[in-house]
Symmetry: C2
Subunit: 273 residues, 2 copies
């Protein structure tokens, strides 16, 4: 199977080096010649949008996505509207920082009603689309692993993300394929094919065994059980040839010096992705 020949498409999702500030992460990417970065909003907030933009532009690094918008469901109409307003700010930030992808982590239900919460997600996306489109930003629905259904996202399958995305033009709403969230799905390859033309991001990491923790249990590519290459090839077959983000929540990796993490990430990217 076809190995990647360069790191041209490699993107550091900033959470992988969580201890680094935005500036440190950008500098780290420059040293390692990683051409892309995915920014988290809490890192942007630390220094403000203006400085973030300057750092990105001065470095000449490309931004693969902004993480994250979403979190639509809430108990009251007022609170839901606040979330929409926050999403509009996230769209502004994406446009300002030069990426056309806002990743949506759609949010958990405020109560036990999954059906209602899923409708709030659909309604929220519907409200955002015109605003995002005007600013040249696409909304990427990232289905999370079902183990996050209670705390992070009621959208937990690529099928469901596709169902929502299908209601819009491909330049309005698409999906993010993150292997950690979807690798288990017997319907995965069919849903990747179905997402043709609207995959807006591809995220890699690994599922380590034994899995130490729900949130912090991701591993570096090659350290776990996910057969990564067929998934990348399927995503490419479905028309996606954009940046590939490495997104790892793992305390051991967070505790490792960032330059070492990037070196390992580059090596594993070629070997396993």
């Amino acid at each position: 199977m076809t190995q990647l020949q360069s790191i041209d498409r490699l993107s550091l999702n900033q959470i992988t080096t969580d201890k680094w500030s935005l500036k440190e992460a950008v500098d780290g990417c420059l040293r390692a010649e990683v051409p892309w970065i995915a920014l988290w909003r809490h890192k942007i907030e630390e220094i403000g949008l203006k400085d973030s933009k300057r750092i990105i532009q001065d470095a000449g690094i490309k931004v693969s996505s902004i993480c994250r918008g979403g979190m639509f469901p809430a108990a009251t109409e007022l609170e839901r509207q606040k979330r929409i307003d926050d999403n509009r700010r996230a769209i502004d930030e994406a446009a300002e920082l030069g990426t056309d992808v806002l990743v949506l982590v759609c949010g958990p239900a405020p109560d036990k009603d999954l059906v209602a919460a899923r409708k709030m997600v659909a309604d929220g996306i519907e409200q955002l689309v015109p605003y995002a489109k005007e600013r040249g930003v696409k909304l990427g629905i990232e289905p999370l692993h079902p183990m996050y259904a209670a705390e992070r996202s009621v959208i937990v399958s690529l099928a469901h993300a596709n169902d929502i995305a299908d209601q819009y033009a491909p330049d309005e709403v698409g999906v993010i394929v993150d292997v950690f969230h979807v690798w288990w799905d017997p319907d995965l390859f069919r849903q990747i094919t179905r997402a043709k033309g609207r995959i807006l991001g591809y995220h890699v990491s690994d599922w380590i065994v034994p899995t130490p923790d729900l949130l912090m249990g991701r591993g570096m590519m090659g350290d776990g059980v996910i057969n990564l290459r067929p998934i990348r090839l399927a995503v490419e077959e479905a028309g996606y040839n954009g940046p590939i983000e490495v997104e790892i929540f793992n305390q051991q990796i967070w505790d490792t010096p960032g330059d070492e993490v990037l070196a390992l990430m580059k090596e594993r990217y070629i070997q396993h992705v």
Copy 2:
């Protein structure tokens, strides 16, 4: 919505009171007037099949299921055959102990190949069906939560369990619906309807938030976010009116005296199931 009016269908899945031996669990059920029990094979093994059978018969308690067969995928043909042999013993135990349901936890892949492992599951079930049928035992495929895909089961959705079960007569192979494993699934109610006539067991617990652990994070009904009643009603609508097992892996519950657990379980069963 319709509340249950009695505990006639309530079954103690033995793992809920993990510190109790089989004899202690049966005695606990008698004291609490819980009419059903689901037995785990490691508890049967502690005292042997003969004594287990005597205890069950003397108590006049009904056995809702034996947990568990399955674990089909393995790296070698020899090992896979050993697993089949072990499943035959599990079928014998089920028949001997007076239940017609063997719960299948299908097992993880021995490598990174989920497709191959899923075929091993299908092949294993195919091999077992005639043996089970002769002994009056039905095979209940229990889809596990996708977070167990790497370590416990490559069958992680009710849709997939239905796909396999559909290839057999309803008195040969069916499915087990465990709320903890399937509650997140946007396709849940459709798949319950699809399973009509072949639901062989219904298991309840709850998904607690924050979720403390992958394995030990289940909660008592009512302590989490699962909207239990609509699921039971759907399962009944699909023709299942058999025992309802309470199956909880939770250290705090395991550390609570069994009689207290059963008292609480009975109360929550009426309130929430």
